[in-house]
Structures are given as structure tokens and as C-alpha cells.
């Protein structure tokens, strides 16, 4: 109140309108975020585009950049042996795991929905992976074969994919790490569960009275409600999987950051190719799962 009185004297109008005061306070509250966004997200975001088109020299006086156009990008695809393989395997792993995670978490959420004994226990059980999942723990478990509940090498289909080399590698990866991929579905289960419980139960009743089987109720009634939640979950999953610290691309980026002759810029180009593909995946996901008109 005191502050407003001070301002009144300086302004010609009798007093600030409420909306002006509101917007000033709004900006005061979100100021930390705007500052942080500019410093730690927007600036690095654009600077890394610039870096990816440059050649960087690190000296005692700081870094010097020279514009070299698309050279880094061309080199990544023509001279680098590791990068295309790592890129393909990372992307295919995301493409294969995301639908698996969404379907698995939806099924588990449907199972967990309802009142019965032990519900809390199972909910807690399925959530444990969220607590312990981290890059080093995952790679230790994978390296020590802890995730192989079935031995997939026995099956024909596995042998087929492992024979066809780098293209089959991601599929082999999915077979090998089936369990750990499911570990990524903890948060998604909770989100689905909350979504299912929000659906007005009278709609189920109406459908049941009209003679719909539970199968029909699921596809015709529950599904349209779940679609937007599935979209949120799919986006969350893709973002989560893509930033997995153990991923080939992610380790590749930090490894090549200080590569001689390629300092910073080469890794920046790598990250940008990766990001653009992830963005494309997100757009495709959005187009598949968005609400279509006249769906409900």
C-alpha cells in the first residue's frame, strides 16, 4: 500500500489501475524464471546452434570461433564411423520403447484401478523403479545381466535380428533390456491411473445399461478420455528416454566435447541433429495422439 502511494505522486493519473498493479506483481513473481530461462536455456540454445556452425579455438584469453558453415554436420555423416550407428540405435530404441511403455503403463493402470485388497501395495511396488533409476545403476544392471529374466538367445526371432548387424542392434537391445524399459513407466502409470479415476462413472453405467461389454466400454468410452493423457505420457516418455544418461548419443556428446581440433563445435552439431530428430518424433506423436474433431 505504501509503495502504491509513492507511485501515485509520480504519475499524472489519480492511481494505477488494478490490472497494471497486477501485471507488475506478476512479473516480479516470475522474474527469476525469465532470468533463468534467458541465461540457462535460451542463450545456450541459440549459442549451441552458432557453435555447431563454427570452429572453436580455446586460448588463455577465452574462446575464438570462426564460421565454417555445415562442415561439422557433413563430417558427422561422412567421416565419423561411430555417430550414425549411435544415432540410429538411440532413435530406434526410443521409437520401440515408447509405445511399449505407454501400452504397459496403461494396462497396469487399468489393473490397479478399482478397490481391492493390496492395491496400495502394488501401486507402491510399481513405483519403486522411479526412485532408483539412474544412469550408472542402469548400466551396472545391464552389464551384469540382471535384467535378463528370459534368455532371449533361445528364440529364432532374436537370432535373426542379431545377425543383421547394426540395423538389428536396437531391436536386440529392446529384447535384452525388456525389464529395464518397463522400469521407465512408473510415473506414466500414476498419470494414467489419475486420469482413469477422473472419468465420470455415470458414463460407464450408461454404456453398461445399453449392453456394452467391458471390452467395448474400454475402446469406445475409456479410450477417448485417455487419449489426451496418453499424449502427455508419450511426450514425457520421449523426453525422459532421450535424456537417459547412458544413451549412446549422450555419452558420445560429452566424450567428443574436448576432442582435439573439434572442441565444443563438433559435439554441438551432434546434439543438434539428435534434438531435431527428437523434435520430429514429438511432432509425429502429437499428430497421432491429438484429439480429432468429432471424436467424443
Amino acid at each position: 500500500m505504501q509503495m502504491r502511494d509513492d507511485k501515485v505522486k509520480t504519475s499524472n493519473r489519480s492511481k494505477f489501475s488494478i490490472s497494471t498493479v497486477n501485471s507488475i506483481y506478476g512479473y516480479i513473481f516470475i522474474m527469476p524464471w525469465i532470468l533463468g530461462f534467458l541465461i540457462f536455456t535460451a542463450y545456450p540454445f541459440f549459442y549451441s546452434i552458432f557453435l555447431s556452425f563454427s570452429s572453436v579455438l580455446v586460448s588463455t584469453e577465452g574462446i575464438q570461433t570462426t564460421w565454417i558453415g555445415l562442415t561439422n554436420y557433413v563430417e558427422l555423416f561422412t567421416k565419423d564411423i561411430k555417430f550414425p550407428i549411435a544415432l540410429i540405435s538411440s532413435i530406434v530404441a526410443i521409437v520401440l520403447s515408447t509405445p511399449m511403455i505407454i501400452v504397459a503403463s496403461l494396462i497396469i493402470a487399468m489393473l490397479l484401478n478399482g478397490k481391492y485388497r493390496g492395491r496400495g501395495f502394488f501401486r507402491a511396488l510399481y513405483f519403486i523403479p522411479v526412485i532408483i533409476i539412474s544412469g550408472p545403476v542402469m548400466s551396472e544392471l545391464i552389464e551384469n545381466q540382471a535384467a535378463k529374466i528370459v534368455i532371449p538367445t533361445k528364440y529364432m526371432i532374436y537370432q535373426f535380428f542379431s545377425m543383421i548387424g547394426p540395423v538389428g542392434a536396437p531391436i536386440v537391445y529392446v529384447f535384452d533390456n525388456l525389464v529395464l524399459i518397463l522400469w521407465f513407466s512408473g510415473v506414466q502409470i500414476l498419470i494414467f491411473l489419475a486420469g482413469i479415476q477422473k472419468v465420470d462413472t455415470s458414463i460407464y453405467e450408461a454404456a453398461a445399461i445399453d449392453g456394452a461389454s467391458s471390452w467395448q466400454v474400454f475402446w469406445k468410452v475409456v479410450m477417448p478420455y485417455i487419449r489426451p493423457i496418453a499424449l502427455i505420457n508419450a511426450i514425457f516418455t520421449i523426453v525422459e528416454m532421450s535424456s537417459n544418461a547412458g544413451g549412446d548419443i549422450n555419452t558420445g556428446i560429452t566424450d567428443s566435447m574436448f576432442q582435439l581440433g573439434h572442441v565444443y563445435s563438433y559435439a554441438a552439431a551432434m546434439s543438434w541433429i539428435y534434438f531435431l530428430i527428437i523434435l520430429l518424433l514429438l511432432v509425429i506423436t502429437f499428430l497421432i495422439l491429438r484429439e480429432k474433431k468429432g471424436d467424443r
Binding site: G36, P44, F127, I131, N144, A146, W183
Partner: protein
């Protein structure tokens, strides 16, 4: 319609009808086939839940069992689930390799402090978005979501250069500063949670306090914050867990100086070889998987303990904060 609604039928009643009380089970013997199929369904649901639960827990069980095995047990193909003798020596070795005393303290500090900072900043920012109307608000909200989607790999290099320029690398600041400014790990999600939460309680309360002479900041601290304790708990716990498990950024920014438990685990093999050098050609001190599994166990045990105590807060978080209401 109305009478049906009054009876409060739920999805579970229709899809998988489950009698709970003993009297209901007795009834089953009297009534016919409908009840019988419901028992079948119940068995099916429990079977699936337990089956999937076993698949989920398999790596943990495997890890727990193998961490207790001696070298001969690992090599013996007949020993699979029950070790012939409990071998706690693995844990002693892993404890030394991980330097648990030091790295556990580091882990707690390096995840506790940013978690507190992030919770505070996200609640302030969320309140700003929820309670005030200002120009360009929608633009900032879109950028908020965009900030979530931009992966850390894209911004990691310029951030590294930035921190290098201001001599902040190898100090905890690269983790603390973004947390203060709402750019920590998954900050966008927490801001949206707070936004949703502050929107859900009546604005009248704020206005009443303002009429009584409270300033905007006072309203936030004395009215809004105490009402949003569930959201604060969720934001803090999840921040803590995610900061604990984060190794990608922290490994680059201060991994050489400050080593948390997961970071020690990442270099487990190297650290082991420094502590227990193996003479060439000999297998005397050779690192085996039991020791590695024991190390992994030690890394996750603190989080598991926390989870067992605060399990409800985690699992009910989504219901309480209403993320899906977006």
C-alpha cells in the same frame, strides 16, 4: 439414471466386480454363475499383478541375491537363487570402493540443497503464473513447456563454456544457480504443479487478506504457501530423487571434485582397480559381479529407505497435485 447414480456404481463394479467382505464370499456359494466368474476375474487380476510385479522386481531380486554370493557360487551353475553361504565381504569391499562415508554425505548435500532451492523458486514462479494476469503470459507459458522439451544435451556445451568463463566449474554452483532461477531438473513440471495447485484454491482468501492490509508477498508466504504443503512435499521429494540420480550434467560440471554415490558407481571398475590392483596374469583380486552388485545395492539403499518411509507421499502425489487436470 438418477437412482443408479445415487447407488454410486463405479468402473470396478462393472468391469471386475469384487466382493470384499466374508459375508459376500458366503453369498457366492448360494448364488450362481455371475459370482463365480468374478472370482475368476479376481484371480486373473491378482495373477497379472503379481506376475508383472515379479518382472518389475526381478533386477532388484537378482541384485540382492548376487551381491551376497561368493566367487564359487557365481561360477556354480546349480546355485541360482539361494547362495550357499551369505557372503557380506562383497559389501565391505564395495563400501570401501564407493567411499560411502564421504560420497553419501556429498549425495545428500548435492541433492538436498538444489531440491530446497528448486522447490522455493518453483513455488514463487508458479504463484506468479497462477494468481496474476499480465501481458505476454501465454508466451511465457509456451516457453515454459518448450524449456521442458529442450534436452540438456543441446544446452550442455554453452553452459559448460559459461560456467568455465565465470570459474564456476568444479564448484556446486552449476547445480545450485539454475535451481534458484527455476531451470533445475524438470523445473517446468514443478512450476506447472504449483500453478495448478494455486489455481485450485479460492482467490477470495487472497483478496480477504489483502483487504486486511497484507501485501502481495505476505499473502503468498502466509496464506498461499501453508495451503500448498502437498505440492511442496511432492516438489521437494521428486527434486531430491531426480537430483540424486542425475549424473550427466553434474559429472561434467563438477564430477572431478565432488563425487556423489552414483558418480562413484559410474567409475566403480576404475576405483576398484586402484584400491585392489590385480597383478598381471593373476586372478587374485579380480573384480567379480557380486562386488559390483553390492556396490549398486549400496547406491540405491538410501533412496529405498526414504521411499519406504515416505511411500504414500510419492504414490499419491499425482492425485494430490492434479497434473492431469491440464
Amino acid at each position: 439414471m438418477r437412482t443408479l447414480k445415487d447407488k454410486k456404481f463405479k468402473l470396478s463394479d462393472i468391469i471386475k466386480y469384487k466382493p470384499i467382505r466374508v459375508s459376500a464370499i458366503k453369498k457366492k456359494l448360494l448364488y450362481g454363475s455371475r459370482e463365480k466368474s468374478s472370482i475368476l476375474k479376481q484371480v486373473l487380476v491378482y495373477g497379472l499383478l503379481i506376475g508383472i510385479g515379479f518382472v518389475y522386481m526381478y533386477p532388484l531380486l537378482y541384485m540382492a541375491v548376487n551381491s551376497l554370493m561368493s566367487t564359487s557360487d557365481i561360477l556354480n551353475p546349480t546355485v541360482r537363487w539361494i547362495p550357499s553361504s551369505l557372503n557380506f565381504r562383497n559389501y565391505v569391499i564395495a563400501f570401501k570402493v564407493l567411499d560411502v562415508g564421504k560420497s553419501l554425505t556429498m549425495s545428500i548435500v548435492m541433492s538436498g540443497v538444489p531440491a530446497i532451492l528448486q522447490t522455493i523458486s518453483c513455488s514463487i514462479i508458479g504463484y506468479g503464473f497462477a494468481r496474476f494476469e499480465f501481458p505476454l503470459k501465454n508466451l511465457w507459458l509456451i516457453l515454459l513447456v518448450a524449456a521442458f522439451i529442450i534436452p540438456s544435451q543441446v544446452t550442455i556445451i554453452p553452459k559448460y563454456i559459461l560456467f568455465e568463463t565465470y570459474k564456476m566449474n568444479n564448484t556446486p554452483l552449476p547445480s545450485f544457480l539454475p535451481a534458484v532461477l527455476g531451470q533445475g531438473i524438470k523445473s517446468s513440471i514443478f512450476i506447472l504443479i504449483f500453478l495448478q495447485f494455486f489455481r485450485s484454491y479460492p482467490k477470495v482468501l487472497d483478496e480477504a487478506a489483502e483487504i486486511d492490509g497484507a501485501g502481495k508477498l505476505e499473502v503468498f508466504i502466509r496464506i498461499a504457501l501453508p495451503m500448498s504443503i502437498p505440492a511442496i512435499v511432492v516438489a521437494f521429494l521428486f527434486s531430491f530423487v531426480w537430483y540424486w540420480n542425475e549424473t550427466y550434467l553434474s559429472g561434467l560440471f563438477f564430477g572431478k571434485v565432488i563425487q556423489t554415490l552414483p558418480m562413484r558407481l559410474q567409475n566403480f571398475v576404475d576405483n576398484y582397480n586402484i584400491l585392489y590392483p590385480t597383478p598381471p596374469g593373476s586372478t587374485a583380486n579380480k573384480l567379480n559381479e557380486s562386488v559390483r552388485m553390492a556396490g549398486t545395492m549400496l547406491t540405491i539403499v538410501p533412496l529405498c529407505v526414504m521411499y519406504f518411509i515416505l511411500q504414500k507421499q510419492f504414490v499419491e502425489s499425482v492425485d494430490k497435485t492434479g497434473i492431469t487436470g491440464e
